[in-house]
């Protein structure tokens, strides 16, 4: 048991560090750090999209954009553990590239698995370099946790061209407002069971009939969009997989969930620990207050538990294995922790805990931003409830929920 790199890993890490020293946009670091856990990049001094594209292009030039993708598509051709090392070293600067995360995490792997050679050559390299941004058009207003309940229709064009005509609405599409392309799942056959009648496509987001509207979130940020489709035409060549095979294709995509392994899970513990070490209470430093300590300790072990769970996963990758199911607990634990910590941090500040102005608030208002962000963490990427179901079923082998919609044609399901 050790935390040491092999000589090869050590050499790779040294190369990465040297390169980052010379190339990382260090002047942006304070802004990026101030926004940890708030769900935004934090960039105000520069345009976040410009900064993202610039950083992505620079990484691509050195083979560090999509480090483990094949070189023929512009990737780095590195091993899985090298990708993890890259992520560890890139650290806070990864926050710059958030706009690409669904493209790189989901759209790219799906294209690699299902697109033809020509399409891969055309679309993957600009995805790597950041020249083209992708978005993923899966969720719908009535299909969130129950993704297979989606209603956006894909119908063959009546002109016999073989093209598909798309009508419907997608939601929670991050980056849609700046995306060049989108990966879209739609219902091509409503007369069969809900999982059976779906088909996957990709499309040009500038196609006529595509309308993107930003969603204002509860904390006032615009992280997501709604996307409306009105008679949007997609050539049949941009279909991925067979008609009706969309659910299967989407699973390939969802299996490639963004690899947070190696990246830091933000629980808020470091932030609250700094706060209580710096703050004075009525009876001395707050960190000496036994009530504070007791809470801190229980958060500390959840925080370190996640950190070392992630180490176990990295260790499996280093051995050439696939990480076990224990990594599925990360977001579930982190999201509640985040909310608990932020709530307590405000409480520690007393009546002044309500202030959000960074100049007036303790810790520059970061906990106020965190408390307003935290409810979303418990929902996005799978609600707490869905994640517990996944752990119970996939890890512990318990039975699935009773399904009333199984084997029922979609157009006969109530609701």
């Amino acid at each position: 048991m050790n935390f040491d790199d092999t000589p090869e890993q050590s050499a790779f890490r040294a190369r990465v560090r040297t390169w980052l020293d010379a190339n990382a946009p260090k002047h942006l670091e304070p802004e990026l750090r101030s926004a940890i856990g708030t769900g935004i990049s934090g960039l105000k001094s520069v345009d976040p999209i410009e900064a993202a594209k610039a950083w992505q292009a620079r990484k691509a030039s050195a083979g560090y954009a999509c480090p483990s993708w094949p070189r023929e598509f512009g990737g780095g051709g590195h091993s899985a553990i090298e990708r993890v090392i890259w992520q560890q070293e890139e650290g806070i600067f990864a926050q710059l590239s958030g706009i690409f995360s669904l493209g790189h995490g989901m759209c790219g792997p799906t294209l690699m698995a299902w697109a033809n050679e020509e399409q891969k050559q055309r679309f993957i390299p600009p995805m790597v370099t950041g020249e083209e941004i992708w978005c993923q058009l899966f969720s719908e207003p009535c299909a969130g946790s129950d993704l297979a309940g989606l209603r956006t229709r894909a119908e063959l064009a009546p002109d016999g061209s073989g093209d598909w005509i798309i009508n419907g609405q997608k939601i929670w599409t991050s980056a849609a407002h700046v995306a060049d392309h989108g990966l879209l799942i739609a219902r091509s056959d409503p007369a069969v069971a809900k999982h059976k009648g779906l088909t996957m496509f990709f499309l040009d987001m500038k196609s006529p009939g595509v309308e993107v509207r930003p969603i204002r979130q509860a904390n006032g940020h615009n992280g997501f969009n709604e996307v409306y489709f009105t008679d949007v035409r997609i050539p049949d060549a941009q279909r991925l997989g067979a008609p009706g095979q969309g659910w299967e294709v989407s699973l390939t995509t969802l299996m490639n969930e963004r690899m947070t392994i190696g990246a830091t899970i933000v629980t808020g513990f470091d932030q609250i620990f700094s706060l209580v070490c710096a703050m004075e209470g009525e009876n001395g430093p707050l960190v000496e207050d036994r009530a504070v300590r007791s809470k801190l300790a229980s958060w500390a072990v959840r925080d370190s538990g996640l950190k070392y769970t992630s180490m176990r996963a990295i260790s499996a990758i280093a051995r050439g294995e696939i990480p076990g199911p224990e990594n599925s607990i990360g977001k579930l634990v982190a999201a509640s922790l985040h909310q608990e910590i932020a709530t307590f941090a405000l409480d520690l500040q007393g009546e002044a805990g309500i202030l959000t102005n960074p100049d007036l608030s303790a810790a520059k208002g970061q906990f106020q931003a965190m408390i307003m962000r935290s409810p979303a963490m418990r929902i996005e990427g799978g609600t707490d409830e869905i994640l517990r179901n996944i752990i119970a079923e996939r890890v512990l082998g318990l039975p699935g929920d009773i399904r009333v919609d199984k084997n029922v044609p979609f157009n006969q399901i109530e609701g």
Binding site: A218, L348, Q349, T356, V404, I413
Partner: protein, 370 residues
């Protein structure tokens, strides 16, 4: 024993509920949240006309001369509807302070104005992060004039007068201050719940008159906080109940996997836990109401219990209402965040939960020793 509001009080609740359903839809809170107005002046005037602003003010001073049980009933409805008006500042704090410590002249001047809504009052106490103790205030009296700064002051921008705690030599005293006078500057500050405005107020030689016994502010504030804690708890209770209702209704309406999401145990049990918290809070609030209205010696225990229980219930119900709503619950468009914001604002309105935990244990020990 009758541990329930009277028929007349329940009728008052119905009246208030109907009135607020009409005059105070969520759009009212949103108008303040969006910065269009600093409070809902029409609603404020309407509340005055209903007599609600002077419910505890004696008829001689233009109020209804009713009791605190009636005020508890109203507070709950204010909380349910997120009423974007300075009700708590003016009624729970300023009115209470004047009633308990004001001179006859002060009462005659301000109470009728408070009752009619033509004056808004508030309490300016907190100055920065942490609890206030004797000797910790920077605001002080110097040659009969006030210097210092208060932050955050609820409704500080719109209030006509404030009761201010200030250091007077080695002691703390209360002062009453016309906020439109010279030596007072105030500016809005941003908070987690902009639907209820707060301000920073600076005093640079403002003239102020003493309120009540000098040098006794710690005890006066503590007493008024106990009383206000019960009233804030009812506001929180109203909010908790409303958040629970919203979540329950959504769980019945929204379908996933071919069924109402409210048929899944995960959602059912989340809602059951919210109900449990709200029920415990309600019972503690009733105890607080009894102690408040009878001026019982149990008030410190009852007030802290109501306060802690209602803070916990509102925070739980508001945050889990978002969870039940899923992604939609985190949109600006849905009202869930209005309650989430308010729940976190009210949790700190009279000082932190930790502070009230301490107050409760101290009060419990004293009552055991007695």
């Amino acid at each position: 024993m009758n541990f329930e509001f009277s028929a007349e009080q329940l009728q008052l609740r119905d009246t208030a509920r109907r009135f607020l359903a009409d005059k105070c839809p969520p759009a009212a809170a949103r108008a303040v949240l969006d910065g269009k107005v600093d409070h809902d002046a029409a609603l404020w005037q309407g509340l005055a006309e209903m007599g609600f602003l002077g419910v505890t003010i004696p008829e001689a001073y233009g109020g209804l001369g009713l009791g605190h049980l009636e005020l508890c009933v109203l507070a709950e409805e204010m909380g349910r509807t997120l009423a974007p008006v300075p009700f708590s500042s003016s009624v729970y704090l300023a009115t209470e302070l004047l009633l308990s410590a004001g001179s006859e002249t002060q009462k005659q001047h301000w109470l009728p104005r408070l009752a009619s809504g033509s004056a808004i009052g508030t309490l300016a106490h907190a100055e920065a992060t942490g609890a206030v103790s004797n000797g910790s205030l920077t605001t002080h009296l110097e040659h009969g004039r006030l210097y210092g700064q208060k932050l955050p002051v609820p409704d500080g921008e719109i209030a006509d007068f404030a009761v201010v705690t200030a250091q007077e030599g080695d002691d703390l005293s209360l002062f009453l201050l016309d906020l439109s006078g010279a030596g007072v500057t105030r500016e809005a500050v941003s908070t987690i719940d902009p639907s209820r405005r707060h301000a920073r107020i600076a005093f640079s030689g403002a003239s102020a008159e003493p309120l009540g016994e000098r040098g006794n502010a710690i005890a006066q504030i503590s007493a008024v906080q106990d009383r206000a804690a019960v009233l804030f708890a009812f506001e929180q209770l109203g909010g908790a109940d409303r958040a629970l209702e919203m979540a329950r209704d959504y769980a019945l309406e929204r379908k996933a996997f071919g069924r109402q999401i409210g048929s899944f145990q995960a959602i059912k049990h989340l809602l059951a836990n919210m109900y449990v918290a709200a029920t415990l809070a309600r019972s503690n609030c009733y105890y607080g109401a009894w102690a408040l209205s009878t001026e019982a010696p149990e008030l410190p225990v009852a007030a802290a219990s109501a306060r802690i229980s209602a803070t916990q219930a509102y925070q739980l119900c508001a945050k889990d209402a978002i969870e039940v709503h899923g992604g939609m619950g985190f949109t600006w468009e849905f009202d869930c965040h209005l309650h989430y914001r308010r729940s976190n604002l009210l949790a700190l309105a009279l000082g932190s939960l930790s502070l009230w935990e301490d107050r409760l244990i101290d009060a419990l020990r004293q009552s055991q020793a007695a």
